[in-house]
């Protein structure tokens, strides 16, 4: 079965442009409950490989090295970067259609007042290697 990576960035969706930290408490709770339920559903169906959020860009570092001297380590990337990766789900599914269906569920996660965020979700197939 093909594996797909569903990638989420910090970019905002048509349904919500307020960062989650500023939502009302009940909406944060509802959102978290939705994400947990979705992971549980995918796990029950035998489709979830991994689901992780990444620690924030505040604690991120970027490394560049020429392989000889000491590497250059800088703080960040600091966004501007709305396109910065925030987290991912790795799913193992029957078809691309199914991956797109899951991505649609992810995108419609509830935001403030339960309005779907319509967050863009990038769907990338994981390349397979010969066994």
């Amino acid at each position: 079965m093909p594996k797909y990576m569903l990638l989420q960035s910090y970019s905002t969706g048509a349904g919500c442009d307020v960062p989650i930290g500023e939502w009302p408490l009940e909406d944060i709770r509802a959102h978290i409950a939705f994400q947990q339920a979705l992971d549980d559903e995918l796990r029950d169906k035998g489709e979830l490989v991994d689901s992780q959020g990444l620690a924030g860009p505040d604690v991120a570092k970027t490394v560049v090295s020429d392989g000889k001297g000491s590497p250059v380590v800088t703080d960040g990337p600091y966004p501007e970067g709305k396109e910065l990766l925030a987290g991912y789900r790795l799913v193992d599914v029957e078809s691309e259609d199914r991956a797109l269906e899951i991505a649609a569920q992810v995108s419609a996660a509830p935001g403030p007042a339960g309005v779907p965020i319509q967050h863009p979700v990038e769907v990338r197939q994981v390349m397979s290697a010969p066994a």
């Binding site: 989420q8 910090y10 970019s11 905002t12 969706g13 307020v18 960062p19 989650i20 930290g21 500023e22 939502w23 009302p24 408490l25 944060i28 709770r29 959102h31 978290i32 409950a33 994400q35 947990q36 992971d39 689901s51 992780q52 959020g53 990444l54 620690a55 924030g56 860009p57 505040d58 604690v59 600091y78 966004p79 709305k82 910065l84 925030a86 987290g87 789900r89 992810v106 996660a109 965020i117 967050h119």
Partner: protein, 423 residues
């Protein structure tokens, strides 16, 4: 389920069997592999065929069989095998000694903590590589490699298979305790990832600490560590809320705490402290006990906790201890006094989310809601622990709500939203 009983038995027997086989063959690395295979074979056959009359002997025989097969197939080792075959069987050494030798070996300071942990869980804990890999969320092949590198390291450093000499015993015991403490913490608050409790790991750490305590009952730090684990783990059922968020000590439903575990922990820490000499684990356990025996949060004896943190701070230069002392100070002398102490930690804990979280908490106590929200947000943006992040985020949201009638300025977390969605 018959399988579960067999599994417990296997885990108990694992280090005893390994001790005997390693001693007989004088090759810890190969013996450990052979015992692991014997355990896997037993785990497959015992649940259906029934546990043999002498399970200990069954496992030794199975492991020796495998090891002999392997040695026989390795031409280069032929001579050694003959030598072993001619040797008289090893004297009956008490199993507990072997288990202790194994613990010292697997937690050898030459190993990195990550590999010592993995090796200890397999060789002493009797867990399979797959189980350990699962607990640490890494692929099995990666964990297998970590374990075999650890064994190669032990082999290269030529550590003898016996208890360390008196001269190095204290240092070696410290690294054993440290490894067990790390296993416990990994289970209790996983350093990354979505689930706050990986119960299996904390349970395993407690089991191993109990085993160690059984072998060294008069060591105050061993007793202290076991007490600390029990007293901390007792709160586990109350520590996570419905959204998987961390519930801080002050807000936990104390009726959910495990009373039996608290009683045992308190008895142990009392015994350890009665020994007179102090030690870090004992003092930490004393603090945990002070929290656990308070029927309500407002009954907490903060004077006692503050005194203990002062003692602890003298024994360690760990800035997190100083941070906790600042919080205890705030509880005794008011938030301003605590905030003053936190200010002194800006350099040593720069950028650490715990400093922001503690500051937010004390600012909230001091009534400075705007600043508290800012620091809760900053802490949430920096933590790598999902339940912790959920807690910090909801805490900020709650404060913001209570404040919104007076219209606070929008608080912008540097770095944008906290991962807009799944947290």
């Amino acid at each position: 389920m018959p399988g579960e009983g067999a599994e417990d038995l296997l885990r108990t027997l694992a280090p005893q069997v390994l001790g005997v086989v390693a001693r007989r063959f004088r090759d810890f690395d190969a013996a450990e592999d052979a015992v692991q295979e014997a355990l896997l074979a037993a785990a497959r056959s015992w649940p259906s065929d029934g546990v043999p009359g002498n399970p200990h002997g069954w496992l030794i025989q199975a492991a020796v069989h495998r090891l002999t097969d392997r040695l026989r197939s390795e031409q280069a080792r032929r001579r050694r095998e003959d030598a072993v075959a001619q040797e008289p069987p090893p004297a009956d050494v008490a199993d507990t000694d072997d288990t202790l030798v194994l613990l010292f070996l697997c937690c050898h300071p030459a190993l990195t903590p990550a590999s010592a942990i993995a090796l200890t869980l397999r060789a002493v804990g009797g867990l399979t590589t797959a189980e350990i890999a699962g607990a640490f969320l890494v692929p099995e092949a990666t964990m297998a490699q970590r374990i075999s590198r650890a064994k190669a390291r032990i082999k290269a450093s030529d550590v003898p298979f016996r208890l360390p000499d008196d001269s190095e015993r204290e240092t070696r015991l410290r690294s054993v305790l440290h490894v067990l403490y790390l296993v416990f913490n990994e289970g209790y608050t996983s350093s990354a990832g979505g689930r706050l409790h990986r119960t299996e790991l904390s349970g395993e750490a407690i089991r191993l600490a109990r085993l160690l305590h059984g072998m060294l009952p008069s060591d105050g730090e061993v007793t202290g560590l076991l007490a600390l684990m029990l007293l901390t783990d007792a709160r586990r059922p109350a520590r996570t809320g419905p959204s998987g968020e961390l519930v801080p000590l002050a807000e936990q439903d104390r009726a959910k705490w495990d009373r039996a575990q608290i009683r045992e922990g308190v008895a142990l820490v009392t015994e350890a402290l009665a020994r007179g000499d102090a030690g870090e684990y004992r003092l930490q356990a004393a603090i945990a006990a002070a929290h656990d025996i308070a029927p309500r949060v407002e009954d907490t004896d903060w004077h006692q906790i503050l005194r203990t943190y002062r003692l602890l701070e003298r024994m360690t230069d760990n800035p997190v201890v100083s941070l906790n002392r600042a919080i205890a100070t705030a509880m005794v002398h008011g938030p301003t006094a605590g905030l003053a102490l936190l200010a002194a930690l800006d350099d040593r804990l720069a950028g650490h989310y715990r400093l922001d979280a503690a500051r937010a908490h004390l600012l909230e106590l001091a009534g400075d809601v705007t600043a508290a929200v800012r620091h809760y947000d900053a802490a949430a943006a920096r933590t790598a622990n999902t339940p912790e992040q959920r807690y910090l985020m909801t805490r900020a949201a709650r404060l913001r709500k209570s404040f919104s009638s007076t219209g606070p300025a929008a608080v912008q977390v540097p770095g944008g939203d906290l991962r807009g969605s799944r947290s």
